[in-house]
């Protein structure tokens, strides 16, 4: 009888939980990287990198006991660049194999920053790099990467300066061989552009732009453009782009209404005066024009690339974001002010179509086939009444028909804040996949009609991304690791759970395998 009663109880009903414990780091990081061979997931507490595949396989990538801190996928979708931290102990005592043992023995600990190239779950190349690097820019062919410091995303207070740190260098990495070359380019280089045929790299740093030759493998400077003749002037590039022919580098400067057009062939600078400092700039290759918008001016500027003439057009509201699709620019505002306009501008005819959103836009994405855009909208407080009041109080999703001549759009109110958006279908995208915060459903949104279908999820979602050939992954709010794989062709949802358990019982940090500085 007792046995029968025990059997009737769920084994999970008697989990003793009287004690409370706080882990010093999350078991997994929801910002995962989708490569061709699987999803790569950082396990911060264990200091590991896991590869998770849709069939439920979980592999731990051997990084020589170095702890991954940032993952960046190369354009080939196969090479993963992994920034790591590696603890080393300055001792000849081979019995010491953890950080804690090294400390107990009063030996010197050293934290080394590294960059590893991982392909198919295997660390193929590891190089010691300076601690401050945190960003990568890839050449158009994906064969060369430039590693640099992105000040905007860097955690500058936690960079360990070991000896001397040189902020005037970037590192060029040949991805097929793993060879890394340090190249001096100027203080705080934070933007790199590649010419269309990948024979030159344009590196922007403070008050200086240098062009690096990529054809010989020596990475020599071809030319250097000073952005100011006065060393007291601190000129910080904001946005930068190359013209489609690769001849000119265009850059805007923080707090300045001047646009620099650097002629990479004649090695000269043309300065174009604008009415204000642009908040965003983008180039349409098809229209061969550059578009600029201003956060405090209801204006859009269009720059042609032959004589660098600027045409200004008045808008009803300021815009601070640009999305380019073929010969059109979508202008919108995510500033937090109560801006409701989204403008589609034809860059050849300069015709502007206005879409009026119910609520201010927080994000906008254009579907791969360019027929629709989806805008996510936040709540607002305007004192409106009736249905407008209801719309103001709710988050929203708007489907913009980019073929409409009248700003046609479908505006939907959302139960909770949208936390993920992806487009299903590749070349012909008729469906958007939408996730709402705290709602255990994947919404398949019909972009033609605004109707939707729900696919049940095992837990509340955190984000969505695509990988491979029209497949999707959904991360969930689950401490032990939970990812769903959505196959739209088969309409199947597979779930992989518990992948974040590795090293949960480890209470010491292993020393890393040494590599050369």
């Amino acid at each position: 009888m007792t046995l029968l009663l025990l059997a009737a109880c769920s084994i999970w009903d008697d989990l003793p939980g009287d004690n409370n414990n706080t882990l010093d780091a999350a078991l997994w990081d929801q910002d995962i990287t989708a490569a061709a061979d699987g999803l790569y997931v950082r396990l911060p507490r264990a200091g590991d990198l896991a590869r998770v595949t849709a069939d439920g396989t979980v592999d731990i990538v051997d990084l020589g006991n170095a702890s991954p801190k940032q993952l960046i996928l190369a354009p080939d979708s196969q090479t993963l660049m992994v920034f790591t931290d590696a603890w080393l102990c300055d001792t000849d005592d081979t019995r010491i194999d953890t950080v804690e043992e090294c400390s107990r023995e009063n030996e010197e600990l050293k934290l080394q920053s590294r960059l590893s190239l991982v392909t198919d779950g295997i660390d193929t190349s590891t190089t010691a790099i300076a601690a401050h690097y945190n960003a990568v820019q890839f050449s158009n062919d994906g064969l060369t990467a430039v590693v640099y410091l992105d000040e905007e995303t860097a955690d500058l207070n936690n960079i360990a300066v070991d000896g001397l740190l040189n902020p005037t260098e970037v590192v060029f990495v040949e991805l097929d061989s793993g060879v890394a070359t340090r190249v001096p380019v100027g203080f705080a280089a934070d933007r790199i552009l590649f010419t269309p045929d990948d024979d030159r790299a344009v590196v922007l740093s403070r008050s200086k732009v240098v062009v690096v030759d990529l054809t010989t493998g020596d990475y020599e400077q071809i030319v250097s453009f000073p952005l100011s003749l006065d060393v007291d002037d601190d000129v910080r590039p904001q946005d930068a782009a190359l013209t489609p022919d690769g001849r000119y580098a265009l850059l805007t400067v923080e707090g300045s209404g001047e646009l620099y057009a650097l002629d990479l062939e004649s090695e000269s600078i043309n300065i174009v005066s604008l009415d204000a400092a642009p908040s965003a700039m983008d180039v349409s290759d098809e229209a061969d024009h550059t578009v600029m918008v201003f956060s405090n001016r209801s204006q859009v500027d269009v720059l042609e690339h032959d004589y660098f003439d600027v045409e200004s057009y008045t808008l009803e509201e300021p815009a601070n974001r640009i999305a380019i699709r073929d010969r059109s620019a979508i202008l919108y505002n995510v500033s937090g002010n109560n801006r409701h306009d989204v403008i589609r501008m034809d860059l050849e005819t300069t015709e502007r179509i206005e879409y009026r959103m119910e609520n201010p836009v927080s994000a906008l994405e254009i579907a791969p086939d360019g027929r629709f855009a989806v805008a996510l909208m936040r709540t607002e407080s305007t004192g409106a009444t009736g249905l407008d009041s209801l719309a103001d109080a709710n988050f929203g999703v708007a489907i913009l028909d980019l073929g409409s001549e009248r700003g046609g759009n479908i505006s939907l109110m959302s139960e909770t804040e949208p936390v993920g958006l992806a487009f299903q279908g590749g070349e012909v995208s008729e469906t958007a996949l939408l996730l709402l915060q705290g709602k255990d459903d994947l919404l398949q949104l019909d972009l033609e009609t605004g109707g939707y279908q729900e696919v049940g999820l095992p837990d509340s979602p955190l984000g969505i991304g695509s990988f491979g050939d029209n497949a999707f992954y959904i991360t969930h709010d689950s401490a032990l690791g939970l990812i769903s794989f959505w196959n739209p062709r088969a309409a199947e949802l597979e779930t992989v759970s518990g992948f974040a358990l590795a090293g949960l019982l480890d209470d010491e940090t292993p020393l890393a395998t040494p590599v050369e500085d």
């Binding site: 989990l15 409370n20 414990n21 999350a26 689950s478 019982l505 480890d506």
Partner: protein, 210 residues
């Protein structure tokens, strides 16, 4: 049948059955996942066959269970504005550890005054661990209801004393207390990692000898 077996053994030697309380030391590994106290109390039963007053054999089983609710404190994310962004940070997860300890031992001792029996014992032990993890205990169907297991072996060397009263009957109440040292091979619980079980061994029992 069991009674017949026991009575036949009893005719040749004494049998003793004890309910016991013991301790187990988790010397290495992140035990905070289950309990802040690295010393766990075990509860079990031990049967001894006293072949003579000097030599005996024992078989024992003990059990312990503990658990904790784990939350996540991500220092780096907190520094950037909150640890609530970590997956599962709001709910955390529960972790439970159930240990089954079995032992087979031999003991040698001397009889003093008929009721006091100091002894030394050497016991081979096995520990089978069942770990359960659940990040949403309110939902019986959530995917992350995880059970993993591990087994290890080890040994205990201890000295103890056995007291039995009254002495004039064929049965007696028995009480024993032993202290020694326990060591086990690493307890591997894949993929979580390993625990090391070793340290002071203390065990006390109360039962019947007949």
């Amino acid at each position: 049948m069991t009674l017949l077996l026991l009575s036949s053994l009893a005719s040749a030697a004494d049998l003793e059955v004890n309910l016991e309380v013991g301790r187990l030391d988790i010397a290495k590994g992140y035990w905070d996942l289950f309990d802040y106290n690295n010393v766990q109390a075990t509860y079990g039963v031990r049967a001894d066959w006293h072949k003579s007053s000097r030599l005996g054999f024992s078989a024992s089983y003990a059990h312990f269970v503990t658990g904790a609710h784990n939350s996540v404190w991500d220092y780096w994310e907190y520094d950037e504005g909150g640890s609530e962004d970590s997956p599962g940070a709001a709910e955390g997860f529960d972790a439970a550890f159930r240990g089954h300890v079995v032992g087979l031992g031999v003991r040698g001792g001397v009889d003093l005054w008929g009721w006091f029996n100091p002894y030394a014992t050497l016991e081979a032990r096995g520990l089978h661990a069942v770990v359960r993890l659940d990040d949403d205990t309110s939902d019986d169907d959530n995917p992350n209801q995880i059970t993993v297991r591990g087994t290890t072996v080890g040994a205990v060397a201890a000295a103890g004393m056995d007291i039995r009263i009254p002495t004039k009957y064929r049965w007696a109440f028995s009480h024993n207390l032993e202290i020694g040292y326990e060591i086990m091979a690493p307890l591997n619980i894949d993929p979580l990692g390993a625990l090391a079980v070793r340290g002071l061994h203390v065990r006390a029992g109360f039962g019947v000898r007949f």
